[in-house]
Amino acid sequence: MTPAPALEFDRVGRRYGAIRAVDGVSLSIAPGEFVALVGASGSGKSTLLKTVNRLVVPDAGRVLYEGEDTASLPLAALRRKLGYVFQGIGLFPHLTVGENIAIGPRLAGERLGRERIAQLLERVELEPGMAARLPEALSGGQRQRVGVARALAGEPHLLLMDEPFGALDPVTRAALGNTVRELHERLALTTVMVTHDMAEALLLASRVLVMDGGKIVADEAPHALLAGRGGAVAQELVAVPRDQAGRLAQMTREGAA
């Protein structure tokens, strides 16, 4: 028997004027999957992700989280159940790192102890001593690590990430990608990550969805995409990192010769 889906989209649509940003998407995501949602700017990937925590309210269809229609759940309660990380990071500048991490549980009337905050910081590979600092004293990569720790504080089953590493330098970006991948395994999360970077999607995800014009045009495992499946739009996106990787490999060989 297949397990009940963690997340299900049922003919979800969202228009902005005449533009169908999301156009009748149906999709099922099983618990434990790491799904990358890839596409060009304006393909609707970010809008689709935000229908899950209702930062965008769909005007057609339903989104089911662990079998329940998200429209029927109280908004605040729904959002506290979902971890959300986004490019803007959005740490509260007037709160310490520890207070930022503890904000979700605090809203639910629960106080996070010092040990729990230290534990969450360790999960994202930061010193527990950082809890007392203000966000302005942190580097960009450290801030996004705190953003991830904040998303995990409510012990969510589902982690939503909207271009989470978009504003970071490549080294920080790779390191944080690995951290997130490990946490995904260790905490048995279901993860949906929006990115425009196909290489990142192929390296981190277990399943890659390609969006174009509000529709899902490919839904493949990374190795299937690399093997040439998924159609023209997907292959166009795959071609870029493959070409770069090929040229880099060639340069390495030439340098060695």
Binding site: N53, L55, L75, A76, A77, L78, R79, R80, Y84, F86, G88, I89, G90, L91, F92, P93, H94, I103, G104, L107, A108, L134, R150
Partner: protein, 515 residues
């Protein structure tokens, strides 16, 4: 200037009243601005309308805004009943609070608009309700900017509050207006320094709070707040402690318009009442139009007014029936309307008259208004701002065909200086003014009787007129002051050397008339 320090230190009551008025106005301004700013943050059109209104208010001169609340409150009595105060604290509070609105509102709206959208998305993303978002994120992040707006508002309000003297609210404007009137520059300076010092202190303390918010240093903003609250508490204690000690006798409030004679006569009446055991309070520097409404509405108990003023301004009559007939008409009019009562005349007239320097009058061959008409097209006439709006001015111009080259407004004090320095050739002087004799001025004759008489009289408000002991106490003043006595008293206050305070001049006057 040796008398400067005692003057400054003697401003305790005015300072306390000023602090309370300003604090209440800023508090009310904050209470209006903050909810409005939150609403404006949710709706573009509310933001436009609210900021537009606040800016509009700001374009009204503070003095006019304060004065406007008198008729507004007067008409609101239809709703709130006769107990609604129309002068003093309430109108000053409302006008100043409106004035404080703009900087607070603008800063709060701007702060909200400039919040990092990422932070707002995060607040939604972690599941904050609207209220939680406001309380936990928007308010603390906007606080330093809002505080900067409050700081600006505080400095403006403390400055503008000096003008509330004109509508009968005690403030640091009292010494400024009184000093300006009596050319007592030490008094003006003391009032200005006290008000500037207060504004700077408020700015400093509110600045501490602002910095505390911006740098998230609790000790700093809490300390600033405690200091502000202590200041307000001290002012409250100073204002209300005497009343709590049981000194709260029924106080008689005496109003005075903005010139020396009024200050002196108010003190003369006050000192007479104090000898009879009354507690007395003065409302100095009231606008001329305000005084009559104030005494009929009971906002003040006693006022000195003049027959000609009441005849034209309050009764709306034209022409000049002659001195006695005019007085009788006013007494009857007051008896019929039944609000205030004419107690009686003091004995002298303070009429408008045209005066020139003796040498200049001789040189031009002018002895009367009829002579003046010939040379007027080459001359400059100076008058107080009220005069050129008055029907007497129209009547005189009509009767003699007067056309001047130029017309200039001066406050009463500066009019005489202008005449001396050649800034004006003719001025609208007052017959009881001591400077007419002292400056060797010629009062031009009025052969056609165009200028009405101005007998000084005492008006009693609704409460005072029923107080038989009070009426009895003031009887000896009636008919007791001739124009020479009044001129001498006025000159003692107005002259530049060996100046007397209005209270000192009043005591000398009392002695002279044998009280």
């Amino acid at each position: 200037m040796s008398d400067f320090w005692p003057l400054l230190l003697g401003l305790g009551d005015e300072l306390a009243a000023h602090v309370l008025l300003s604090a209440a106005a800023i508090g009310l301004g904050i209470a209006m601005a903050l909810p409005l700013a939150v609403w404006a943050g949710r709706s573009e059109s509310v933001a436009r309308v609210a900021l537009g209104f606040a800016s509009l208010v700001q374009t009204i001169p503070a003095l006019a805004l304060l004065a406007l609340f008198f008729p507004i409150l007067l008409s609101l009595r239809a709703v709130f009943g006769e107990g609604l105060p129309t002068l003093g604290f309430l109108p000053a509070l409302l006008a100043l609070a409106l004035y404080a609105l703009l900087p607070i509102l603008r800063n709060a709206v701007t702060a909200q608009a400039n919040l990092d959208p990422g932070v707002i998305e995060a607040a939604d993303g972690v599941g904050m309700s609207r209220w939680q978002k406001l309380r936990l994120v928007e308010a603390p992040l906007a606080a330093p900017f809002v505080m900067a707006g409050i700081r600006t508002a505080a400095v403006w309000t403390i400055g503008a509050a000096t003008l509330s003297t004109t509508i009968g609210q005690q403030s640091l404007g009292d010494p400024i207006f009184a000093g300006l009137q009596t050319q007592n520059w030490a008094l003006v300076l003391a009032g200005c320094l006290a008000s500037a010092g207060l504004a700077l202190s408020a700015d400093l303390l509110l600045g501490l709070i602002e910095r505390g918010f911006a740098q998230r240093r609790r000790a700093l903003w809490l300390g600033g707040m405690v200091a502000v609250l202590l200041g307000i508490a001290a002012a409250l204690a100073a204002q209300f402690a005497p009343a709590l000690r049981g000194d709260a006798r029924d106080t008689v409030v005496i109003g005075a318009k903005q010139f020396s004679e009024q200050y002196i006569l108010a003190r003369l009446i006050g000192q007479q009442l104090e000898r009879a055991g009354y507690a007395v309070e003065y409302r100095d520097g009231l606008g001329s139009a305000v005084v009559h409404s104030a005494v009929t509405s009971g906002a003040i108990d006693i006022a000195i007014d003049y027959t000609g003023t009441l005849w034209t301004n309050q009764m709306g009559r034209e022409g000049n029936p002659g001195r006695e007939a005019m007085y009788q008409a006013i007494v009857e009019w007051k008896r019929d309307t039944g609000e205030a009562r004419v107690l009686g005349r003091l004995g002298f007239e303070n009429a408008y008259a045209f005066a020139m320097r003796e040498d200049r009058a001789q040189e031009l061959g002018v002895r009367s208004l009829a002579d003046l008409a010939r040379v007027a097209p080459r001359l400059t006439v100076g008058g107080d701002p009220e005069f050129f709006e008055r029907p007497e001015w129209a009547a005189v111009r009509e009767a003699y065909g007067l056309r001047f080259a130029r017309q200039r407004n001066f406050s009463a004090t500066f009019m005489y200086n202008a005449l001396r320095s050649g800034g004006a050739d003719v001025i609208s002087a007052y017959t009881s003014d001591g400077r007419i004799a002292a400056d060797r001025l010629v009062v031009l004759e009025d052969p056609r009787g165009a200028l009405p008489s101005y007998d000084a009289l005492i008006l009693l408000g609704p409460e005072a007129r029923r107080d038989e002991k009070l009426v009895e106490t003031l009887q000896p003043l009636l008919g007791a002051i001739d124009v020479e006595a009044m001129r001498e008293a006025n000159f003692a206050v107005d002259r530049e050397d060996d100046k007397r305070s209005p209270a000192q001049a009043a005591r000398a006057l009392a002695q002279r008339i044998g009280l």
